[in-house]
Amino acid sequence: MSTSAESLRVIENATCTFCGCVCDDMVLKVQGDRIVEAKNACVLGKAWFLNHHPENRPLATIEGKPVSLDEAVERAAQILVQARYPVVYGLSDTTCEAQRIAVAIADWIGACVDTTTSVCHGPSGMAFQGVGEVTCSLGEVKNRADLVIFWGCNPAESHPRHMTRYSTMPRGLFVPKGRKDRTVVLVDVRRTKTAPAADIFLAIKPRKDFEALWALRAIVKGMEVDERIEEETGLSMAQLKDLAQRMKSCKFGVLFFGMGLSMTRGKHLNVEAALALARDLNQFTKFYIKPMRGHGNVTGADNVVSWQTGYPFGVNLARGYPRFNPGEYTTADLLARGEADAALIIASDPLANFSQPAREHLRRIPYIALDPKETPTTRHATVAFTTAVYGINVAGTVYRMDDVPIRLRPALPSPYPSDEEVLRRIERRVRQLLGHPSSVHP
């Protein structure tokens, strides 16, 4: 190894943008154009940082052929301006600064703007509207929570540092003994790797979360529920009553839920049941509820789209004012129905994970893709841009899953432009084509 002290740089307090935890205590060691060590990173964070390598891809392509950035921007702007029902989608793996420009483009061209929230915690967003969210930051959880419930999520594998950094292990102001002062409950359909870290594991039958949460609501209110609940959910009445009692008698309870709730039968109404339970519990104690957000800046996407349009995702701007209707304006649905006639996809790979009809329709229409890596979506894109990686190459702001904004400290320069830069150029050209060259987006 030709490790020389001169070429080794250390970046303190770097931020990992792999998952929604957005840990900002990374110590990265950089040698040449590689990150060689990522101290404090979890297994996912290590993979994120250490596998980063310089790409050898053209800056931009049109129908697969390498072109200059200017040509690609021109073609992208033309596609967007000519479209009658375009959709701007993705946004969860880029900075808030880039998301803001993407919403501006959607506004200029009268598009639907939608984020990957619509295929993960979108139902939670709808439920927040229906019921409301009793919210707190992860810092409060760390310092106060004495009852932590994980429902339909598996943080040990999906958010490895969630438990050690925020929710179960750390010592806090009002939980001085850390893990010993807390009760941890896991409700899931199978014994995941989170189960050994929990005090109580409740194995619920698949797709019966709504029934269990609904019964808990009634039990918390002191109502008797029908005994059929045992057979239906796989949880005994004693288990349900014990959990209800623990929830009512804790000092500070928090329920973290994952896609086990938001993406199984019942979707937003499962989440509404959980939110309503948390709301009801505040008659007895302090009780909070938070979704376990996946992608690094998906929470930022919700925040940016919300403060720009008033709604978190699935927003249509065709009439010049925002309209919100998940199912109608969400990308997976409007592609599956064959409605969109162009798309701008930022840091997302719908061709790898959408339904068959949606993928087929996307292949038929012209679309623009921005991604640091080559994906099925960039391969089929009419115009594809290679962009720099946020958090590793690009500075900016991202939101942690508890809506706390965190600044990024990039470790390496990149030969590619950032998403923000490319989007800003597209936006400028779109404005020119629409005859609004003097309008300046802040």
Binding site: W214, L269, A340
Partner: protein, 289 residues
Amino acid sequence: MRTVPTVPLEAECISPDRLSSLRTEEIARQSVLYGNREEQLGEFFTVYGSAEDGEVHVEGELSKVKWLGAQMTRGRLVIHGTVGMHLGSQMRGGSIEVFGDVGDWLGAEMRGGKIHVHGNAGHLAGAAYRGSRAGMRGGVILIEGHAGFEVGHGLRRGLIVIGGDVGDFCGVNVLAGTICVFGRVGWRVGAGMKRGSVVLAHPQSGFEPLATYRRSGLFESVWLRVLGRQLAQWGFTPLATEPAPSRPKSAQHSYTATETTPTWCTGRFWRYCGDFAELAKGEILVRES
């Protein structure tokens, strides 16, 4: 319809209120939103006749045409063909008749009037828009075929009748009002119901009550016969096959049933009350099997 749109066409101008006072050429000039740009109605439809009598007929492949008859207050709108989302949304009066299927959000948040669909409907018929507390607040929705999820979400007043099967969460968060289903039901009927009635007229509806509902007895209802006769008068023919009467003929004579009273509403119904996770003043009436 002359030109079938390739992207959604928002045509709330197609409503008797808006068209009845206009001449044919003025109707053709009405603006519609085609994707993100305004176009004229005449680009897509051949317009003939007059709507002076308050009657408007629309014909063709309309599955991408949205908001027909939205906010209408009077007159009659007749649709021949499959029609898109938000038909009769927030309407206050008049009537809509559809000879075909309709999309999601049929009669969402409507306040009055009557919609009669001879085909199937999508999800969220008579529902509350996201973020609203209350859905349909008055009027009648009749769907002879099947309907999707969340029928009558947040229903506050009015009547929704489905002749076929419904998806999950039929009558979720109902505040008041009546839903009647002739076919099979999905999961979680009446979840979060505060007041109101859900009637399941099929003896094998597949109904599984939530644990927060309680069975409170078997009874015969007078108002269901009134409902049955009214539906017959409206010419409502449910898709779900009417099961043979399970009771001997001699027993039927004890009812005050007239010849026009359909058999379904003369039987006995189990009454489930709930939802005990909420106000618990609602009821689900399930026909005795």
